[in-house]
Subunit: 263 residues, 2 copies
């Protein structure tokens, strides 16, 4: 994955974006995308058919982190043990690097030669829907505005975290040429693990959440035990859906990792 | 053009993006896109074939203004006689509104039913290339880094302003089903008016630029007379290219407006 090279501008231009992109991370979205592809594709080893989609998902996720870390947003100085982009460079550079990462995600999908034009349009439409007001940005706006009820919190996280995770599975399935039934199964799998991912996140942050104040979380609204029960239930649901597919093993392992992870 | 309605989230979510989008402006990019379409299309009145592209271009242009105006960037409190988005709302809201406008541009192109999938992929690829490191963002980074020579300044503006203007003409031509020769003529027309636009901008800012200090401009490097001569030359070149097309009149008028405008 090297979408940000081959640049007529001095190569230093893309350095802040590359700094953000190649700074580690779990790569959950690309992993889900590739796993969904391999679960249904006629040739699961032909990864050239899916890697551009996996790259686009990580580009969108990384842009969202760069902008989330900005002083006006979460004001985080460190991510993954390294200075955030606006610390390592400066704030204008971080804003533009985030913008460039988002733009590059759509360019990567649009210029692939492996895919039919119909697939490209479908993949781009889904990624943009998942990333925008109907998905990730919608969830971020809801987060800024503040929510109170469990229903609102669930909707917030289905947007902020869930939409892109769900799109990862759907996009992998499209790259693999899934039929309608398998596509629906992978979409539902993505919805389940997307919400489970956030429940697990809240459990990891349990100690912080137990403090007074701070934003609402599933642990605060439901308690740790009920949050864990719901995460396991969603994981089981996802594994059940994966069983409908020809090669469910990686999806099963990823669903378990998402709920049981300690990072 | 109403891409930001029909929202499962409270409609207030998209209000900051709509505030930026519907705050006036010359709409040069949509106008060029529609004029390029009408110059070549078999049915120049069938505007449904081109308006989504025109909308996407204005969405990208508007996002770039919202982010440019941020305190960390140009720190502008007013645009077009109204408070900028981060003043009317707040800074996180402005960052997210810009992100959403950019995302929405690609979604609008991806979901159109009027176009073939091949056209969608081509339009999205060109828009992303024009908006990213190879175009607009590349020019913005060069601007932040500072340039000294006429060659660097020209390249900066071919990226920062020119790439999206040139893409506007190319995208309109593609929507109109232009053949390769007419597409090349409209692409070259767009390159000429894109640079002429910036020369004219520098002439409009002539008094400021005459002051000591400040960033380099064409007027500073070439003088007002030579800058005006080059703008007129580019305008003439653009008009010559437009003459190759079946209906050149609007393109001719727009080239003249771009050079002679007082706004």
């Amino acid at each position: 994955m090297d979408p940000l090279f081959n640049d007529a501008w001095p190569s230093g231009f893309a350095a802040p974006a590359r700094y953000a992109l190649f700074g580690g991370g779990k790569r959950v979205r690309p992993a889900l995308c590739v796993a969904a592809y391999q679960a249904v594709a006629p040739d699961p080893q032909a990864l050239g058919q899916v890697l551009p989609a996996a790259a686009a998902l990580e580009l969108v996720h990384t842009y969202s982190l760069v902008h989330d870390d900005l002083p006006a947003m979460d004001d985080d100085d460190e991510r993954r043990g390294r200075p955030t982009v606006h610390i390592a460079y400066d704030e204008p550079t971080a804003i533009l690097a985030g913008d460039a990462l988002l733009t590059e995600a759509f360019r990567v999908l649009a210029v692939q030669e492996h895919w039919s034009s119909a697939s490209k349009a479908a993949l781009i439409g889904r990624l943009a829907t998942a990333a925008g007001y109907h998905g990730m940005i919608g969830g971020q706006v809801a987060d800024i505005n503040g929510v109170q009820t469990l229903e609102d919190l669930t909707r917030l996280h289905r947007g902020k975290t869930g939409a892109l995770i769900q799109a990862s599975c759907w996009m992998g399935a499209v790259c693999g040429g899934a039929d309608a039934i398998h596509l629906a199964a992978l979409d539902a799998y993505g919805a389940a693990v997307g919400l489970a991912f956030q429940l697990a996140d809240d459990l990891l942050d349990e100690e912080e959440d137990a403090e007074e104040g701070g934003p609402p979380s599933f642990v605060k609204l439901l308690g740790a035990e009920e949050t864990r029960r719901r995460a396991v239930e969603l994981c089981d649901e996802a594994i059940g859906l994966a069983q409908q597919l020809e090669r469910p093993d990686t999806l099963t392992a990823l669903a378990q990792f998402i709920v049981e992870r300690k990072i």
